[in-house]
């Protein structure tokens, strides 16, 4: 009786493992369709004018899939429809971080900033680079040029061929320059410490981390700030104009979501 029970138990356990494995495989196989379903639901709600529900489906889709510039753009559009221009601006900016050449997102971000009263950003050389060069391709090209140059230089030294050595050195320098451009321009690097003010009515930058401290500058809703350090529920940061100061962490959301 005891043995039978054990055998039955073992069988039952084996059967349970098998069914769990099957269930896991079935769930794993259905994950892409779940993503697609959430995104499809979000778009359907958007079309029906149910923007609040669309926001939830978009956020659900983003939680279960790789980040996508298109989905962040759609989420920003939806927030804009609900009147939350600050969150719309955040999602447009996230879309631009993933794809700096995403023209509709750039246009929508400018519109949101106008609505928020945020002055337009001065386009600099980085924006020009981002418009013309995809960062990942530049990274791969830079690395390839660097190593190609390194190998050419190595064999040129062995063969005592000065011409090839010069060509290798040029390739190495070109690769280093390309990687330096990526380092300075890729928004996933340059914006890794940037955050946006989402608090209603904005917040204040103070001289010291105390409520009654001297007010240095107003940080309107939708404005960007660079986080330099954190102490308790206070951030120490720098405004684009160069002002350094303290502000509460409440309502400050990083542009690049934390891992």
């Amino acid at each position: 009786m005891k043995n039978n029970f054990s055998i039955n138990g073992l069988l039952c356990r084996k059967s349970g493992v098998r069914s769990s494995l099957l269930l896991f495989l079935a769930l794993a196989a259905s994950l892409p369709s779940l993503h697609a379903d959430a995104l499809a639901d979000a778009r359907a709600r958007f079309s029906d004018g149910e923007f609040d529900k669309a926001v939830k489906f978009y956020e659900q889709a983003l939680e279960t899939r790789d980040p996508s510039a298109s989905v962040f753009y759609e989420l920003g559009r939806t927030f804009s429809k609900t009147g939350n221009e600050a969150r719309a601006a955040l999602n447009f900016r996230r879309a631009l971080v993933l794809d700096p050449r995403f023209v509709p997102a750039a246009k929508a971000l400018r519109e949101s900033n106008v609505a928020l009263g945020i002055p337009p950003e001065t386009p600099g050389w980085r924006a020009t680079v981002l418009e013309r060069l995809p960062m990942d391709a530049l990274t791969i090209g830079g690395a390839a040029a660097f190593w190609l140059g390194a190998f050419v230089a190595l064999f040129a030294v062995r063969a005592r061929r000065r011409g090839r050595l010069a060509a290798g050195a040029v390739l190495v320098l070109a690769g280093v320059a390309a990687l330096a451009v990526v380092w300075r321009c890729d928004p996933r690097i340059s914006l890794r410490t940037e955050a946006m003010v989402l608090k209603n009515g904005g917040t204040q930058m103070l001289g010291t981390p105390a409520d009654q401290s001297e007010k240095l500058a107003a940080m309107p809703e939708g404005s960007l700030v660079r986080i330099l350090s954190q102490r308790g529920h206070w951030f120490y940061g720098r405004l684009p104009g160069g002002t350094h100061g303290w502000f509460l962490t409440e309502g400050i959301v990083p542009v690049i979501p934390p891992a």
Binding site: S70, G117, M135, T139, L154, R158, R188, I189, P257
Partner: protein, 597 residues
Amino acid sequence: MALILTLFVAAPVVRAQEVSCELNSNESRVGEPVQLVVTLRGARGAEVPQTIPVDGLRINLAGRSTQFEMNNFKLSSTITYTYMVVPLFDGDFTIPPFEIRIDKKVVRTEAIRLSVHGGARAPSSPTLPPVPGLSNPQLPPSAGSRSANDRQPYFAELLLTKKKAFVGEIIPAELRFYFNARYGGQVGERPNFSGEGFTVQKFPNAEKREQVIDGESYVVFVFKTAVTPVKSGLLQIPAARLDARLQVPGNAPQGLSDFFNNFGGAIPPGMFSNTREVALETKPVQIEVSALPKDGRPDDFSGAVGKFTLEATVSPKKAAAGEPVTLRATVSGQGNLEAMGPPTLTGDEGWRSYPPTDKLQSVDATGFTGEKTFEFPIIARQDQTQTPGLSFSYFDPVAGKYATLTQAPLPVVAKAGSPAATATGSAAPQPAASATPPPVATPPDISTMAGGATNWSSLLFRKGFLAANAGVAILWLGLLVAFAVKAFAGSVAGRQMARRKKIKEMLGRARQAEPDVFYELAAGFVCARLGAEGDFFAATGRINASPLPDSLKASLLRVLERHEESKYAAGSAIRPAVDERNDVLAALAEFNSKYEK
């Protein structure tokens, strides 16, 4: 305007018997009091005049103090009488000698000269500087003909620059709290001053001054502020209140007075005092407030009330396509700077403008006088050679009418930018979307969207990219090492190192060799060490030419000979005895170490 006066005192210190008389300052001006101090040493009491008649000066006795000193059980005292001297006119004055009666003796001071220059000033007016715009400040209630003993120890007053104002107009005001200098004490940090129908500027820290009123010295705490009416009609400004704690003179305990009387003196004033909690209140004031007229109100009027000027600058002077230009408008003057709105842009059809930022810089604590700078970010929608103009309207309460300031467009070169051209079609900020959206919305046009990255981490920091680069780096380093080793082996140093290694191995093999091949290996070592592999003739010559010891040379030559004998011995190699083998090995070791040294 205050005038700088030049004063000359011919004899600032006059000495009489047991009496000194001096002025505390040898400079003064009309209305500015100086102190005449009369000191009596060794006297227990004296009779001094209450006033000293001098034409052009008002000299009144302000107070008396007594100082006791115990020296060798002998008590001495010094009595000081202080007179306040208030110049009434400019000119040179002489304070004449006056008599002081000490017990039954009469002493006379000497004359003191005082020169005063300056414009006439009302002698009874306060010595405080006037509030800007104050035309008729109230006199303190103590000012009058009452004697010093009858005057209040403290009082307060509210000074307003005007009693008729418009809604939104800033009225500078001062709250003054007077305390008789003979009393010590403490005052609160801020007065309590509020009411309906007006707002009050935040109080800065109090200014502490000294003021003489009718010969009586007062400590005055002045709080500067500004009152802004917010509704029309008769406005009642209630009393402002400041709490204080005063040290008032008190009576000495019974018996202590008798003790001092036994020594012929009185209890020093101020030795005993009581603390009194007091509240100083100003008198309520009425202001007649008028509403801003509707007639003639400009469309761009943004609530500015006062008197202002407008200036503008632009930077940069040249802007590339899509680059914003900052149009900076500075409104300066007196009025409600903090509450006023920005100027309006005119002729800005070809520009895209954004709400301006503002910065207020006031030169006084109340924010009444100063300048406010508005910065408009603007982007050219079409190629432009000049900025928009500026218009700023305000209400002038003195003239009682509106005024408009205009600023002509400023020259600038700005090109229309493609980034701005693809932005919104309207320059004005768009209102937020309605909370109740329309039932049907246009879904985003997904077909226009780019793919973009699918990772928040840059490719530079991704594990796959770093691993691939690490692999390539290892390969490159491996090749580098291999090439370096090969290049070294082909070099002179590399060859020498290989030869040394080979010789060392040959010596080792000779030590381990079987007897049959011992001399073959030993001779091979000798030839290799001499750099003459296989050439015994050359080796023999080099041994003979070397500076080695003769015995060693002989041993080496014998090794070569033995090897030659073995080679031609037809299958029977020469086998060395143990001693001979050891001798040969010792000679080889010595040769290895000494050769070429």
